[in-house]
């Protein structure tokens, strides 16, 4: 996916972050902080410190307050996520229907723990404690915003070996 970029701290990066902030012109900066962080993270797959500095300068929000928010909410990352994001659902339906077993298979197959990214930057593995609202498909995983379930451990491994190529404009 070429939708994301690597943060280098270049002028182009600074301009991009500024453009994101321009989109909140006229809105309350504090009310805009979380939505702006979401936008920035969508682009860089984490919240780069340099981007936070630009927010801090433009909106006069102390860095410590931005850092407090970034570290509190589980959505935000201070390190880039892998190009593929794999969530294993351990919500209350999936947990009791094989979620933890899928989780173990995923950890062993990718050789990383929950919350970690493979050294080649391809995969980030996360455990979801919330529910994807698709309990009828338990146990399931979400790969790059698409639900796959119910899955066996073998099916999960082959999903990881051959992740579907994401098509532009497809729903779900």
């Amino acid at each position: 996916m070429s939708l994301t970029d690597t943060w280098t701290g270049s002028e182009a990066d600074a301009a991009r972050v500024s453009a994101v902030l321009d989109g909140f012109e006229g809105a309350d900066p504090m009310e805009s902080l979380v939505p702006a962080l979401h936008r920035i993270q969508e682009h860089y797959r984490y919240v780069p410190e340099g981007a936070a500095r630009i927010i801090s300068d433009r909106w006069h929000i102390p860095m410590t307050d931005i850092f407090a928010v970034v570290t509190f909410y589980s959505d935000f990352r201070t390190e880039p996520a892998g190009r593929n994001m794999l969530w294993v659902c351990e919500g209350a339906a999936c947990y009791f229907m094989g979620g933890p077993e899928l989780g173990r298979a995923a950890r062993e197959h990718l050789e990383i723990g929950y919350g970690e990214t493979t050294p080649d930057g391809e995969w980030t593995l996360k455990r979801a404690d919330f529910c994807f609202g698709a309990c009828h498909l338990a146990p399931l995983v979400e790969l790059n915003h698409e639900i796959h379930g119910p899955l066996t451990e073998d099916e999960l491994r082959s999903l990881v070996d051959n992740p579907p190529q994401h098509q532009e404009g497809s729903e779900g």
Binding site: A93, F130, A134
Partner: protein, 591 residues
């Protein structure tokens, strides 16, 4: 828009809707909520469109959402002129072409694929919906439009009595009368606590400071609750109308919808609904020429369950860490930006248009005296009909699970239901005559909460359930108070030991005692409810816990029951809290 223009718009919308109900060509309804999309509804939609082209059949394809038959997704309904609407389940992209060809070309309605027909009598081998177990006890109020209207169409909503209640409030009622009606209806908060909405509105309305704000709590981060998500995905204008009514009643110029980031589709549909209402002039300045103005902002969360607690949600919207604070002051006095603020759940506000349209008398005729109205339940786990059902409050647990929920899946036997989500308690089989309403399940150490029920069969270990809930609460604790932060961690350690065959009999008393302390000394509902599943497990399934700690055996065969491989943990270590509790018990004992 003037009142006259509004009435004209309403008339035209209703007229167009008639052509949907009495179609001249086949109408195909495709469910497209997040549950349906997860099952492949987008591919089904493509397949339907290409099949119609291939067959050369002209038909209207309508997008709807969330009828509630989630276990059947992808769901497709077909209504042919002269025939009733029929619901089909499991219509994947592979099945869709065959179904369309059979029914639309060869006139075979395919009873083998059908779930039910919208008719009074069976239709060519297909049971009427009203006779199915799933439907027959339901009382659809909030879900009334779900499965019918296109959630992205304000016109569909208006054609089905949408915004009529708002117009009525603005044109015929004073704000005080609206508050009075809601108070009389006794609409209790559907976010879990059951606090009467009318009283909350009244105290915010009479607070001295201005401006006042309304917050819709659509955070819903609980692991088996998905009713607010479905309400937003299926009928976002219903919530929006309730929100604007609240704004008018309280005298507020602005509302916020705080939506968990796990809900991108609900977010998208809510934002679209707001745009449409603005364009039509039902939001903005001088609504319907009455001088009342209202603005709505849709705000995303960022993935912390605790930020769904009302005071935490306020900090979340303010761009701060979403952590609860001590009360007083209550939000109705000092909430968002220090101003009087009403925080209401999605389902609570979705009730308001119905209360205004039909009156408080009608509302209190539904449900029970203490809990009027209906409740939308999310049902998941080992039952047949995983999905949503809306029943009157006061329905028995047995009716809910074994009729509307379809009973257990083939080959499995009921063990318990975890009612009230992660902060609720287990209810065993001999207590299924309890009724679902505020304040009844508490007698058995559980609660209705927000109506997310998880059903377990005999293959589920009740100790594992308590462990799971404790793990969730430990992970989601914001860490502000010591009993919640350290207490849940320490209980989790005990459970880890027990699950790995290293528990001791004294653990039972230790779990119970620490639970009581956590409940007593925690600031917010998370800590106060975290031990509830543990206590209910001890209360109803102590035998099973004893088997774990005394016989080192997990009767359900779920827990590992041997030390974790490579674990560096000593076989038994007492946590600081346990030591303190032990010491305290000794002091108390010798006094």
């Amino acid at each position: 828009m003037t009142p006259g223009q509004w009435r004209e718009y309403q008339r035209q919308a209703k007229e167009r809707w008639r052509s949907v109900l009495e179609p001249k060509e086949p109408v195909i309804w495709v469910s497209t909520d997040s549950g349906a999309l997860a099952s492949g509804a987008a591919r089904t939609l493509d397949a339907i469109e290409s099949t119609l082209r291939r067959l050369g059949v002209s038909a209207t394809v309508r997008k709807t959402a969330a009828f509630g038959t989630t276990w059947l997704e992808p769901v497709v309904d077909i209504q042919k002129p002269g025939a009733p609407r029929i619901t089909y389940g499991g219509v994947t992209a592979d099945v869709a072409p065959e179904l369309l060809e059979s029914w639309l070309v060869r006139d075979d309605p395919r009873p083998d694929l059908a779930f039910a027909s919208f008719s009074d009598e069976p239709y060519r081998g297909i049971a009427p919906l009203k006779d199915t177990d799933w439907w027959r006890l339901q009382r659809r109020v909030l879900l009334g439009r779900c499965g019918w209207i296109d959630p992205d169409s304000i016109e569909d909503y208006v054609a089905n009595d949408g915004y009529a209640a708002l117009a009525r409030c603005l044109l015929e009622m004073t704000p005080e009368q609206v508050v009075e009606e809601v108070k009389e209806a006794n609409v209790r908060g559907r976010g879990g606590a059951g606090f009467p909405a009318g009283i909350k509105w009244e105290s915010a309305a009479s607070a001295a400071n201005n401006p006042k704000f309304i917050i819709v709590n659509a955070h819903e981060g609980e692991p088996n609750v998905f009713k607010d998500r479905r309400l937003l995905e299926g009928d976002p204008h219903q919530l929006l109308e309730g929100l604007i009514i609240a704004g008018y009643a309280v005298g507020s110029p602005r509302g916020y919808v705080y939506i968990g980031s796990e809900y991108p589709l609900a977010f998208e549909r809510t934002v679209r609904a707001v745009r449409q209402a603005e364009e039509l002039g039902l939001l903005g300045e001088n609504i319907l020429g009455t001088g009342f103005g209202f603005e709505v902002r849709v705000v995303p969360g960022a993935g912390a369950y605790i930020s769904g607690e009302a005071s935490a949600a306020i900090y979340g919207i303010q761009g701060e860490r979403g952590m609860p604070r001590t009360k007083p002051p209550r939000s109705a006095e000092a909430g968002l930006w220090g101003m009087p603020t009403v925080v209401n759940n999605v389902e609570t506000l979705s009730n308001m248009p119905h209360v205004i349209n039909n009156g408080a008398k009608w509302f209190t005729s539904l449900g029970t005296e203490k809990s009027p109205g209906t409740k939308v339940f999310s049902l998941a786990g080992d039952i047949k009909y995983v999905g949503m059902a809306e029943l009157e409050m006061g329905c028995t647990m047995r009716d809910l699970l074994f009729v509307a929920g379809g009973g257990m899946r083939d080959g499995s036997r009921f063990r318990a239901v975890l009612a009230g989500g992660i902060s609720g308690g287990l209810i065993p089989e001999d207590k299924l005559e309890l009724t679902n309403e505020f304040g009844t399940l508490e007698a058995e150490g559980s609660m209705m909460g927000s109506g997310g029920y998880e059903i377990y069969d005999e293959g589920t270990c009740m100790v594992d359930v308590a462990y799971y809930c404790t793990r969730f609460n430990r992970d989601e604790s914001c860490g502000k108070c010591v009993p919640c932060r350290i207490g849940t961690s320490s209980q989790l350690e005990m459970f880890e030991r027990i699950r790995h065959g290293q528990g001791r009999e004294s653990d039972i008393a230790r779990l119970a005692r620490s639970s009581e302390d956590i409940i007593a000394y925690s600031l917010c509902g998370l800590g106060q409810a975290a031990p509830v599943p543990i206590l209910s497990m001890i209360r109803h399934f102590e035998d099973e816990l004893i088997a774990h700690v005394r016989d080192k055996r997990c009767p359900a065969g779920v827990c590992p029951m041997r030390p974790e491989e490579g674990s560096r943990q000593a076989p038994f270590t007492m946590t600081a809290l346990e030591r303190a509790a032990e010491e305290r018990a000794e002091t108390v004992g010798t006094r």
